[in-house]
């Protein structure tokens, strides 16, 4: 789902990486610097392995530094990326997903789907207990699904993904029959996401805001303490022997514990890693990627996330993007490859189609369907009647200039902002007057609710091609109905497209789903609804003393279950 909480002073962060002029400091600052030298004696951890161990080592604490703090540790509530990163360490899921998109057993050893596709019967492991001592039973499955679907939970992600949920019947202690209102072939896929992780029903029975502070799972670690704005402390769950099938080992985690630090400033986070203050950082900033590669003490772990890639979605409900020719012209006038190369130092690839390459049923056929082509863009604008020119070279039609309004949220990263400045520059060469309009997040959200934009910047991380239904089908034009919320940001409405994405939910046959999602991708691409830029990605930089950090395949979030440190 969308990034909503602020990333701190990103602009300051990029500034601090540049070599600033270093004027003569006041004399007293210098002697204070000397005093500081005396203070900074201890605390530095070394990256290099002390031993040359090739066998996993038991014990030790790993310090992980991340950019954003979860607002609630229970991923059912709201449901933003920082929550699922933490959930991966202390929650297990009913099913797991592997790299090729296959669904594998985890807490559920087996399952059956009824012929009408509306009842999923899960057979659970008998030997799982939550870290508060509660056993995993069918009752726990019911409590969790009910909790996600309960409006009071304030679930935007998990609750949204199981809108079809009707209720759960308890067949016996370890068998649960989950009923859906309509067939939903993506159900198992979303269940594999950490957002829908299974929590202790006894802990869930507490008030929501209490459960937010210290939720309880059955995972390899349990939450010990949360020092708000500073760190979350986790300790090993010694009883753990039900790890996911995608893990590298079985049995309890190798680490004694994790300190999950919150360091919002990207350059500060990277400096903390270089200084050995922390062992692993995520959201490695683009400008630090080359230095990190060259640093012999560090290694990198990266993967693209599935879903709808980072994009600017064109609002087709008003001029000028109500005209498909102008949409194609705009997309073709934006030199995304050039912008990516300069903003992300050649580290990010283009995502050209409506799905990220790691999404199940992704087709590579659309990667180049709307590449940079300013000549074609000019011809399309001529055809669409935008033939006039202002003194500044902006195209006009009936005296009206060709203006594109793009609201930018304050929380947008500095890199993303620069990317859109480059789009602004290249589109201007074709005759578009692109206006980047800054505002705080809530103001921009309000504008988006009222369809007051021409381009809306966003992305959608999920492990299923069903994301196409959420971002382009007419059911999501005003789905939530209050405050103008809509997930179909383009305003696209096509009965043929709706039928295809809904049919894809009726069958669990992979070949049929693949064929339907190919059609859906074709329609989305042909209508030029988005400038897709790059896939969302998980980018870790790690100390050489850290081994076997794994990215969990469903959303490519960090898993520290297998990890060990040599120090």
């Amino acid at each position: 789902m969308e990034l909503t909480i602020l990333r701190g002073a990103q602009a300051l962060g990029s500034l601090s990486m540049r070599p600033l002029p270093f004027p003569a400091l006041p004399r007293r600052a210098l002697w204070l610097g000397a005093a500081a030298l005396l203070l900074a004696t201890t605390g530095c951890r070394r990256h290099q392995s002390r031993t040359t161990a090739h066998e996993p080592v038991q014990g030790g604490t790993l310090i992980y530094a991340t950019d954003r703090e979860p607002i609630c540790l229970d991923p059912h509530v709201q449901g933003d990326m920082p929550q699922v990163f933490l959930a991966e360490q202390y929650l297990d899921s009913l099913v797991a997903m592997d790299r090729s998109g296959h669904i594998l057993p985890w807490l559920a050893t087996a399952w059956t789907v009824s012929d009408d596709g509306r009842t999923y019967t899960f057979h659970l492991r008998h030997d799982v207990t939550f870290t508060d001592g509660t056993p995993l039973t069918a009752e726990a499955v019911r409590a969790n699904l009910d909790h996600m679907a309960d409006p009071h939970t304030q679930s935007s992600t998990a609750g949204g993904y199981i809108k079809q949920y009707a209720g759960t019947d308890i067949i016996d202690t370890y068998t649960a029959a989950v009923h859906l209102r309509t067939p939903y072939a993506a159900f198992l896929e979303v269940l594999a996401q950490g957002f829908l992780g299974i929590e202790s029903p006894r802990a869930l029975a507490r008030p929501r805001d209490e459960n937010c502070q210290n939720p309880v799972g059955s995972g390899p670690f349990r939450i010990i303490r949360w020092d708000h704005q500073s760190q979350i402390v986790l300790a090993r769950n010694p009883a753990y022997h039900w790890g996911p099938p995608t893990a590298l080992h079985t049995g309890p985690a190798r680490l004694d514990g994790i300190e999950w630090r919150i360091i919002p400033e990207a350059s500060v986070r990277f400096a903390a890693l270089q200084a050995g203050e922390v062992d692993v950082i995520d959201s490695l900033p683009p400008e630090a990627e080359t230095p990190a590669q060259r640093n012999p003490d560090l290694w990198l772990l990266m993967a693209d996330r599935p879903g709808n890639p980072t994009n600017g979605t064109l609002n087709i409900k008003r001029v000028p993007f109500d005209d498909i020719r102008v949409r194609e012209a705009f997309i073709r006038s934006a030199d995304i490859d050039g912008a990516l190369a300069s903003v992300f130092f050649h580290h990010y690839r283009r995502a050209g189609g409506p799905l990220s390459p790691t999404t199940p049923f992704y087709s590579p056929a659309f990667e180049h369907h709307a590449d940079y082509d300013p000549d074609r863009a000019r011809a399309l604008l001529d055809q669409a009647g935008w033939t006039g020119r202002t003194a500044e070279g902006i195209r006009t039609r009936d005296g009206r200039p060709l203006v594109v309004h793009i609201p930018l949220k304050a929380s947008l990263s500095a890199a993303e902002r620069t990317l859109w400045e480059q789009v602004q520059a290249t589109a201007r060469a074709t005759g578009f007057d692109v206006r980047l309009e800054n505002g705080d997040d809530t103001t921009i959200l309000e504008r988006e609710g009222h369809w007051d934009y021409d381009v809306r910047i966003g992305y959608w991380n999920t492990n299923t091609a069903d994301v196409l239904r959420i971002v382009f089908s007419s059911a999501f034009l005003g789905a939530a109905g209050v405050g103008g919320h809509h997930q179909n940001e383009a305003g696209f409405s096509d009965p043929a497209f709706d039928r295809i994405v809904n049919d894809a939910l009726l069958t669990t046959d992979p070949d049929k789903r693949r064929a339907l999602y190919l059609q859906a991708q074709t329609i989305a691409a042909q209508n030029f609804l988005q400038i897709t830029t790059y896939p969302q990605s998980t980018r870790l930089a790690l100390s050489r003393a850290v081994h076997d950090v794994r990215l969990e395949p469903s959303l490519n979030v960090t898993s520290l279950y297998d990890s060990w440190v040599t120090r």
Partner: protein
């Protein structure tokens, strides 16, 4: 004694009433400003326009936080709640506001206290040995002016880049231990020291011109003793007033510094809560800052009397 008490009680009541009015005004202004700026807290709570909340979830959140009521009713309930001493539940943190304050106020207060102390130390070191001493005074005075002109956030980035990134002398981030407090403290203290020192130098120079200084010297007192025991006392009073203002300014500047150094604290919390239109949390932090400011005023009054016993007659 009874005479003093007679005068102290109305004065105390007046201060109390004034303090309460300041708090009421702060609470009302916070309410008004958050309601006048566009944006909807529910969109922030539920993850914005590209999250996938059900209409039922949105309606439930609106009702839970009382956002479905008329605005005047919301205001009345809000003031009544604060009057009862209940700061409410933060929308965005899923915690009682009082718990957020309890966790976040200590790091900010520690930063403020250390900044104020270091600023005073720097100011004293810069003024007392150099005042009225030709070249030394000129150099120190110039450094004070430069210091007072440095923006805190810029200084913070500079210190971070130099001492943490390049020379690796100090940790770049966090709240872990005393070393982590050094850079944020210096970022706030150096500009403040510049301000305090400028004011101190002026009063110090004036004091040195007074006849009693001449008398003291005539009694054979050494220069150091004259400066420390006689001139300094006079130079302190305006600096104490300035420090009251500085307490307020430090909270404001802590926002940027806490973000730059990834420190825990009220400043960062305030920044995040304004962005999400989290009314209970914003007002809780604003009230806390207002209260700190009021208490700083009381502390300054007490300090006046301690520094200048002559004030006892006029200001009990």
């Amino acid at each position: 004694m009874t005479h003093l008490l007679h005068r102290a009680v109305p004065r105390f009541l007046g201060r109390l009433l004034g303090g309460l009015l300041v708090l009421l005004a702060a609470a009302s202004l916070t309410f008004a400003s958050l309601h006048l700026t566009p944006g909807d807290p529910v969109t922030a709570i539920l993850g914005g326009a590209s999250a996938n909340p059900t209409p039922e979830a949105i309606a439930a959140a609106r009702h839970e936080y009382g956002l479905d009521r008329p605005i005047m009713v919301q205001y009345a309930l809000y003031i009544a709640r604060i009057a009862r001493g209940d700061l409410g539940q933060s929308f965005s943190q899923h915690m009682p506001v009082i718990a957020v304050l309890r966790a976040q106020a200590p790091p900010t207060l520690a930063l403020m206290a250390s900044s104020l102390a270091v600023a005073w130390l720097l100011a004293l070191l810069s003024v007392v040995p150099t005042a009225r001493r030709g070249v030394a005074a000129a150099i120190a005075s110039t450094l004070e002016t430069i210091g007072a002109g440095l923006p805190q956030f810029w200084l913070g980035i500079l210190l971070l880049w130099g001492l943490a990134f390049e020379w690796r002398l100090l940790p770049p981030a966090g709240n872990h231990g005393l070393p982590a407090l050094v850079l944020p403290t210096l970022s706030l203290a150096i500009p403040l020291a510049g301000f305090i020192a400028q004011v101190m130098r002026e009063s110090f120079d004036l004091a040195l011109d007074q006849p009693f200084i001449l008398t003291a010297r005539a009694r054979g007192l050494g220069d150091g003793a004259v400066r420390l025991r006689h001139a300094l006392r006079h130079a302190l009073l305006p600096c104490v007033s300035l420090s009251t203002w500085a307490v307020g300014a430090l909270v404001g500047n802590a926002v940027a510094i806490e973000i730059i150094f990834s420190r825990q604290g009220l400043g960062r919390e305030l920044f995040l809560s304004v962005a999400t239109h989290d009314m209970p949390l914003v007002s809780g932090i604003v009230l806390f800052i207002a209260l700190t400011y009021i208490l700083a005023g009381v502390a300054a009054d007490t300090l006046y009397v301690l520094i200048d016993p002559r004030l006892k007659g006029t200001r009990p």
